[in-house]
């Protein structure tokens, strides 16, 4: 079951970088692939969740290995694993709660939580989660289950269907799969709509006559600015061109097409312009668990400049970009070194190589890293589809999305959890 056609295709697409560009598309495709894996996976009578988890892990491992730099893949794999665990937990608890059959449980994790029989499945799930780790700040404050802030973790069918059937195992297994697929669908929906959800918050952050600075091009930033524009805010945008890929040029064109007052500057002019800027709004490649940001190269300079002039540095990131790993892990910090031809034509370079073969190594090296790391202390605010957050809060947000068990996605030799 590990070798199925679409999975191979995606693995290849991921590894050949020309096929999928951007973490949103990657995330969506990964989620869709995992959904099909789950729907095709046959579940045994006992321990369905374990079987699903194993299947997802097996494929997730390959996907992550295909392109370790694209962190969104790993994020989605972990999210799906988390969904399976949650759904399984809620179903089990509901079954126990409804029929009071303590012996039915096949999931050892559940054995110690037989008491909460009166709560709804989702609430049970939330409670169960809270026994595994400290309660989320949101749960504490709002005193509601997770659904508002973290819709994908709430079990969609849990409330209604949890009570209906329980003892019949085959129907339960079908139900688990159904619920999981349902939840993954929601996840996909979230990924697709993340731009809109972030953009909805634009008016709260962008005010009249402000000057916004951004670097390179990000669809999230673009939608965010448009949303503010549509709400009749008038403001100016400074776009740093984002060498060497110069995607800022594209962004500037699109902004102008929508009637926004835009100024294009070079990356090196950021410091000169920052004193006139009210807010820096940028996109990210990934947000790490400590609140650090992996962002297009040049971002650290912008963040430092913003800090120097006490300009808020705001990072927009869809929840699929939240990564449960810490950046001191060298595998994560691993940068992508792109082709030097973005900096220098190969023809020009070969001109410098006349005697290069003399010592074996040429005198000219061209290094073209794709990403920068911005430490959390330089970031003022994260805006995700769940709202605005402080960098120091990121680890809690991430804890809501991921199970601690899944941080290392590696298939285990024995099935079961």
């Amino acid at each position: 079951m590990t070798q199925i056609e679409p999975q191979n295709q995606l693995t290849l697409d991921l590894s050949r970088k020309h096929k999928i560009e951007g973490s949103q598309a990657t995330a969506r495709q990964t989620a869709e692939l995992l959904r099909s894996v789950i729907s095709q996976q046959r579940v045994p009578y006992t321990n369905q969740a374990g079987a699903l988890i194993d299947a997802v892990k097996a494929i997730g491992e390959q996907l992550i290995a295909a392109n370790p730099v694209e962190l969104a893949v790993g994020n989605i794999v972990r999210r799906v694993l988390h969904i399976i665990r949650e759904e399984d937990l809620s179903l089990t608890t509901a079954a126990i709660g409804g029929l009071n059959l303590s012996a039915v449980s096949d999931d050892e994790n559940d054995d110690d939580r037989d008491g909460d029989s009166t709560l709804s499945a989702a609430a049970v799930a939330a409670a169960a989660r809270s026994t595994l780790r400290p309660p989320s700040l949101q749960t504490l404050l709002e005193d509601t289950p997770v659904s508002a802030a973290v819709p994908q973790t709430s079990s969609s069918g849990g409330d209604s269907e949890g009570k209906s059937k329980s003892a019949d195992k085959s129907s339960r297994s079908r139900k688990l799969k159904h619920d999981v697929i349902e939840a993954v669908n929601e996840l996909i929906q979230d990924i697709v709509t993340c731009h809109e959800q972030i953009a909805e918050q634009a008016v709260e952050h962008i005010h009249q006559n402000e000057v916004i600075l951004t670097l390179g091009s990000s669809r999230t930033v673009l939608e965010f600015l448009f949303a503010a524009k549509e709400k009749k805010r008038s403001f100016r945008v400074f776009v740093a061109e984002g060498a060497p890929r110069y995607q800022g040029h594209l962004l500037a064109k699109e902004l102008v097409a929508r009637g926004l007052q835009t100024t294009l500057i070079t990356d090196s002019a950021v410091f000169a312009m920052i004193s006139r800027v009210n807010m820096v709004i940028v996109g990210a490649h990934a947000v790490m668990a400590n609140g650090g940001v992996i962002a297009p190269v040049g971002m650290n300079l912008v963040a430092l400049a913003a800090q120097k002039h006490a300009v808020p540095f705001v990072v927009l990131a869809g929840s699929h970009k939240l990564c449960p790993l810490y950046p001191h892990n060298p595998e994560v910090l691993l940068n992508e070194l792109r082709s030097p031809s973005e900096l220098l034509d190969f023809g020009e370079f070969s001109d410098c190589m006349d005697f290069g073969s003399g010592s074996g190594s040429p005198l000219l090296h061209v290094v073209n890293p794709a990403f920068d790391y911005v430490p959390p202390k330089l970031v003022s605010l994260f805006i995700t589809d769940a709202g605005g957050h402080n960098p120091s809060y990121m680890y809690r947000l991430i804890a809501d999305y991921y199970s601690a068990d899944d941080l290392v996605v590696q298939r285990r030799a024995t099935a079961g959890n």
Binding site: N8, A65, L337, S339, S341, F355, S359, G360, S361, P362
Partner: protein
């Protein structure tokens, strides 16, 4: 009703318009990948493994080509396998290329093919290519995007059905040093129309010593502008229309893609097929033609110019490698290598899976394959070490290629440029001299064709060897034991293998194509040569008006002109003779013969004096061929022929110069080709005078010219002294 009709017509037109691009889009792009270069540059390695499967930065070369084709949007690839076809097919079958959803790889196998031309003819017979296709050989590394080139090709094809091929070219520095040090290729000259990008001239074997190239002046006459480049590099990636295959079939003598096909099309203007060029700027494309380009392309890959086909990106089932920072630069590492703490691995190095490196070893600018064992105090610099190589303590390797399974005993040293083929064993403390190639197989003698390779029979029978023997035709092996003894000590104690004697070109040429850096003295030589070639910098030239006479300029040296015209005149004479003989046999009218000779004269661009000489020559030839028993009979024959054909001869004798030419020609014949005439010289001269073919002025001037000549040259003047005397007197009398 009318409106409806109109609408229908418009709809139909729209449908037609929309059909067209659809057609283009629907036709899946195909590619022909030649998994054989039909050369022997990589010997002795290629005796045991096909070139396309040689590892390039630990990945077989063909994977780079296939990965690129896949990325470029090619849907179907025909891999043409010839030498070691079984190995190639086995490899492909076990690779993931056969299980791609939108990318099919098919193999075509043939064993008796000896050139790219034959391969294409075979593919044409199979009738598998239906539309435009990419023609590439399996040793090309590229990351260019084909979209634009393909688009241009299709648009040109739509406008002009004769635009059959688009050649991808790349700029390179116009210096022989660059060329030499980069890819080890000769200089390439191209004439390109700057507006249409049509290729007008292609010369990759320009003669360096002369420093000249010859352009047909018609080239300048026909094209309003030409730019002549020596700063372009051929990437050996071609986008071809299906006609190309049929062209190969029609011209069965085309063998080499460039030397025959491209030059053939450019020279042959009858069919009017055109080749265009597409220049790439930032993307990478290069072909591995010899060891030097192997070295350079490997370095380019390590420096990521071929991104995304680089060691740390998985593009074809290669194992994941990780980059590590070494100083300023990066080194690709596999996660599972065993490295001693004191080993120093420098920058721009790739180390494969499961390799062990001992203490105090230094490695820099090198590629090391999987499962190698490297002892302590080993020095490896700029070298390519393939899989499962064992290098014992204290060895030194500089700029060498070491194939799979080689064992180097302690203290062995490889000098720059050495190539060790599969499973060779180098003895303890043995020093392999520079540029030598070592193989378990004996060097085939020059006359052996590929099929008849004689495999060596090793009497000592080491374990490694027996595996080779299994495949070798033992009965064929006629190696005697004493000669293997003779080879044995060459690799030190315990060494196994033969050092190949340096083949064609000798030592002088070896440095050009080896992996070793070019020695200092050769570089200075090259740069001196370059100074001489300074005049050859790219120049834009605009031709004069088509009516005006074109004076061929500096490019065509006079020496060449003379040589050419000499050749031409020989051919011309032969043609005229053939025409004349045919006329005599078939009793063609004199007027017609004149016409024919005239047309020959025009096509060979000859003067009427040349014609006169040639016609006279043929007449005399005829006379001498006519059976005769005595000199007087010969004289009679000659007189008859001259009488019959005097009109023909006279039509070319417009001025006195031509008459003198005839005399000179006759003189030459008497001395060289037709000595029988020599005693008759004066008499035939007299006949010619009598028939009014030669005027007295001509004869007298000839006599005057000969006055100052050597004694030996005066033989005939003397012979005809009386006749000349008589002529002089006659003219005086007239005066």
């Amino acid at each position: 009703m009318g409106a409806q009709k109109k609408r229908a017509a418009a709809a139909a037109a729209a449908a037609r318009v929309s059909e067209d691009p659809d057609d283009l889009a629907r036709q899946p792009l195909q590619a022909i990948l030649l998994a054989d270069s039909f050369t022997t540059k990589f010997r002795p390695i290629t005796l045991e493994r096909p070139k396309v499967l040689l590892p390039l930065v630990n990945v077989p070369m063909i994977n780079y080509t296939l990965a690129w084709l896949e990325a470029a949007g090619v849907a179907e690839v025909f891999v043409f396998c010839c030498a070691h076809s079984k190995q190639v097919i086995d490899y492909l079958e076990n690779s993931e290329w056969f299980s791609q959803p939108n990318f099919t790889v098919k193999t075509i196998e043939s064993h008796n093919i000896i050139s790219a031309g034959d391969a294409l003819r075979l593919i044409y017979e199979q009738n598998v290519i239906h539309g435009d296709f990419v023609l590439i050989s399996g040793d090309t590394v590229s990351n260019m995007s084909l979209t634009q080139a393909l688009q241009e090709h299709k648009e040109r094809k739509k406008k002009d059905n004769n635009a059959v091929m688009t050649m991808i070219i790349k700029k390179s520095k116009p210096s022989p040093i660059t060329r030499q040090s980069r890819l080890g290729t000769d200089e390439l000259f191209m004439a390109i129309d700057p507006n249409t990008k049509q290729l007008l001239y292609y010369e990759d074997k320009a003669d360096h010593s002369k420093g000249t190239i010859c352009l047909d002046k018609m080239l300048l006459a026909e094209n309003p502008s030409i730019s002549l480049h020596n700063d372009k590099q051929d990437c050996y990636i071609d986008i071809c229309s299906p006609e190309v295959l049929s062209l190969f079939t029609d011209n069965f003598d085309y063998q080499h893609l460039r030397r025959h096909f491209v030059k053939g099309l450019l020279l042959d203007d009858i069919m009017g097929y055109k080749i265009f060029t597409h220049e790439i700027h930032s993307s990478y494309a290069a072909r591995i033609d010899n060891y030097r380009s192997y070295d350079i392309v490997s370095k380019d890959i390590i420096q990521r110019w071929t991104y995304p086909y680089v060691p740390d990106v998985k593009f074809c089932g290669n194992r994941a490698t990780k980059l590590e920072r070494r100083g300023i630069c990066f080194t690709a590492f596999n996660s599972e290598i065993e490295q001693s703490r004191s080993a120093q691995v420098g920058s721009f190095t790739v180390i494969g899976y499961g390799t062990k490196i001992g203490s105090n070893s230094k490695i820099s600018d090198s590629v090391i394959g999987e499962g190698c064992t490297i002892g302590s105090n080993v020095l490896i610099e700029g070298s390519y070490i393939w899989d499962n190589v064992i290098i014992e303590d204290g060895c030194e390797l500089r700029h060498v290629i070491v194939c799979d399974g080689v064992i180097m005993k302690a203290g062995a040293v490889l000098k720059p440029g050495v190539v060790l083929s599969f499973k060779v064993v180098i003895g303890e403390r043995f020093v392999v001299p520079a540029y030598s190639k070592v193989s378990l197989l004996q060097q085939p003698t020059v006359h052996d064709s590929d099929e008849e390779l004689e495999y060596a029979d090793n009497s000592s029978g080491t374990v490694e060897f027996s595996s080779i023997q299994g495949t070798a035709d033992q009965s064929n092996g006629e190696m005697t034991s004493e000669s293997s003894e003779a080879h044995k000590p060459k690799l030190g104690t315990g060494g196994v293998g033969y050092i190949w004697s340096i083949c064609e070109g000798g030592q002088e040429e070896e440095w050009r194509h080896s992996v070793a850096p070019i020695p200092e003295d050769k570089l200075t030589e090259l740069s001196e040569a370059m100074d001489d070639d300074q005049e050859l910098v790219t120049q834009d030239r605009t031709a004069l008006s088509t009516s005006g006479e074109l004076i061929s300029d500096s490019n065509a040296s006079e020496g060449d002109d003379n040589e050419d015209s000499k050749d031409d005149s020989v051919y011309f004479e032969k043609e005229v003779e053939a025409t004349f003989l045919r006329a005599v046999e078939e009793n063609v009218k004199v007027d017609h013969v004149i016409l024919e000779v005239n047309s020959l004269r025009l096509s060979y661009n000859m003067t009427s004096a040349d014609c006169a000489g040639a016609v006279f020559y043929s007449m005399m030839k005829l006379a001498i061929k006519t059976p005769h028993s005595s000199a007087s009979e010969l004289q009679q024959n000659t007189a008859n022929i001259i009488t019959t054909w005097q009109k023909l001869l006279k039509s070319y004798l417009l001025e006195i110069d031509e008459e003198i030419e005839i005399i000179l020609k006759f003189e030459e014949m008497c001395l060289e080709s037709a000595k029988e005439f020599s005693p008759l010289f004066a008499r035939i001269l007299h006949i010619l005078y009598d028939k009014d073919i030669l005027q007295e002025d001509a004869i007298l001037r000839w006599a005057d010219e000969k006055e100052g000549a050597d004694e030996s040259d005066k033989v005939f003047v003397r012979q005809s002294e009386k006749f000349i005397q008589w002529l002089r007197e006659a003219s005086e009398e007239e005066d």
